[in-house]
C-alpha cells in the first residue's frame, strides 16, 4: 500500500473538514425585536397585549418559552411560579410560540393546571425566531440594554431542581459575574411555521 500519498490526502481532507466544521458554527442570526408583532394574552391576568423588547431602565425581563403539550415544559412550570414569587420586581413573560399549537391550547392547559402566571401567544413563532429560541423550556433574560442570559432555565434531577435562570437574575441584581451567559436548552423543539 502506498501510505504516503494516502496520508497526505486524508490529512488534507481532515483539515478541510475541520475548517468547514468550525467556521460556520459561530454565527447566529438574531433579528430585531422591533419587527416582532405584539404578543396576545392567551391565558391569565395581564395586559391584553405585550410589545416585545428590552426591559425598562434598571429592570429585568424574562422571556420564558413554554409549550402547552411539552412534558419538559410542564415539568418546569413550578419554576416559573417560583421565579415570579421570589423576584416580584422581575417581569416574567411566558411565551407560547409553537406553530403546531393554538392559543386555545394554552388557555386549556392554563385552566387545567391552574397557572398563577399569564401566557402570551406568539403567533407565527416570530419572537422565538427573533430571539433564536429553539426549545421549551427556554429563557431569554434581558435588561435595559442587552441579553444577560439565554438557554436552559432549570435542571431537574433526582437530587432536586437547580434554577439557572434564578442564578442569572440574582447575579445581575448583585452586579456579580454570572457563571455563564448561555446554556444549551434541553426539552422539546419549538415548531416554526
Amino acid at each position: 500500500m502506498t501510505a504516503k500519498p494516502s496520508v497526505l490526502l486524508f490529512s488534507a481532507l481532515a483539515a478541510l473538514t475541520l475548517a468547514f466544521t468550525v467556521g460556520p458554527t459561530t454565527a447566529q442570526a438574531t433579528s430585531s425585536l422591533d419587527d416582532v408583532p405584539d404578543l396576545q394574552l392567551a391565558y391569565g391576568d395581564g395586559d391584553a397585549a405585550h410589545s416585545p423588547g428590552l426591559a425598562a431602565d434598571g429592570q429585568l425581563r424574562v422571556y420564558w418559552f413554554w409549550s402547552a403539550h411539552s412534558p419538559c415544559s410542564k415539568n418546569a412550570e413550578p419554576s416559573i411560579e417560583a421565579l415570579q414569587n421570589a423576584h416580584l420586581d422581575v417581569e416574567v413573560i411566558v411565551v407560547h410560540s409553537n406553530a403546531d399549537q393554538s392559543a386555545s391550547d394554552a388557555e386549556d392547559a392554563g385552566e387545567e393546571r391552574d397557572f398563577s402566571f399569564a401566557v402570551y401567544r406568539d403567533e407565527g413563532a416570530q419572537l422565538a425566531i427573533a430571539l433564536n429560541a429553539t426549545m421549551t423550556p427556554e429563557v431569554v433574560v434581558v435588561d435595559d440594554s442587552q441579553i444577560i442570559y439565554r438557554g436552559r432555565p432549570i435542571s431537574i434531577s433526582r437530587r432536586g431542581t437547580q434554577s439557572f435562570v434564578e442564578e442569572a437574575v440574582v447575579a445581575w441584581k448583585s452586579s456579580a459575574e454570572p457563571d455563564t451567559d448561555s446554556r444549551r436548552p434541553t426539552g422539546c423543539v419549538i415548531r416554526r411555521p
Binding site: P24, T25, T134, S157
Partner: protein
Amino acid sequence: MRNYIMTFMLIMGLAGGLWSAPAQAQSCCAASQTAGPVRLSMGQTAAAGISADARAYTGRFVDTEYRSLEHPGVELRQTFYGAFRLGDSWQVGATIPAVQNRRQTATDVEWGAGLGDLSLQARYELVTTGMSMRWPGVGFTAQTTLPTGRAPAQSMERGTSLLMSDVTGAGLWAAGLGAQVEWVFQRNFLVLEAAGFAALPYTDAREMRVRPGMRSAGRLSFGRPVGAPFFWDETLYLASSAQVAHTFARTIDADVAAHSRERITTLSVQAGGYLTEHFYLMLRGSWDIPLEYAGQNRQVGPGVGLVLRRVFYDS
C-alpha cells in the same frame, strides 16, 4: 440464535405499533436516540460510551446464492465512541472498535483479536428535525475510516492465523458523504438515509494496483417514543430499520476482480431508554436477510448489541 433475534424483532415491532401509552419525549428527540452512537440529540453537548455487539455468521452468499455455513463464525465487537457538538449545527465523533473473531472448520477452531478501524464522523444539521412545519429535518454526514485494524493482507503476512481470525479491519483508507432526511408526523418518525463511500487505491504484495469498489448504503427507519415508567424520562425509544449496502466490483490492474461485488440487506430493531438523566441504554438486534439476491458475496447472520451512552448537557 436466529430464532431469538427474530422473536425479539417481532416483539419490538408489535410493541412499537401497538403501545399507545403517552411518552414524555417527542418524536423529534426519538429519531436521534435510535440513530448511530455518535448522533447527539438537540439538547446534548457531548456523549461518550461503549457498545458491545455479537454477531454469528450462519451463512454466506456465493455470488447471489445463499448457503448455510456448516461451521458458523462469531464476531464480538466492543466499540468505544465519543461525540461532541460544535455550535448549533455541527457535531463530530469518533469510534474505535476492539474485535474478537472465532473461526471454525470441521477440524479447527481459532480465535483472533485486535483493534479495528478508527472512524471519524461529522454531521451538519441543515434543518433541525421537528422544528419546521414545512420541512423535514435535513442533515449531512461525512465520514473517514482509517486502517488501524489488521487487514487480510497483513494477517497473511503475519502467518499466525490459519483461518484469518485475526483480521480486524478492511485495510483501506476510505471516506464517505451522506444525507439524512427525518420526518416527524404525530408521534412517529421516519428517517431516510443514503451514503456513498470511496476507498483509496493501493498496491498489493504482488505489486498490482488495486482499486476498491465504491460502496453505497441506504437505510429506512421508522419509530416512535412510547410511555415506559421505568425510565428516567418515562419513555422507551423504539425504531426498526431496513438497510441495503452495496459494494461495486474492485479492479486489479484495471481488470474487474471476480466475485468482488458485495451486497447485504439487513433488518434491525432498536429499543432504548434513559436510566438517569445522563445514562442511556439501548438494545439492538439485526438480521441479514438470507434470501437469494438479498445478498452477494458476503457472510451474513444475526446479531445483537447493547449500547451504553453517557450524555452531557450544559450545566
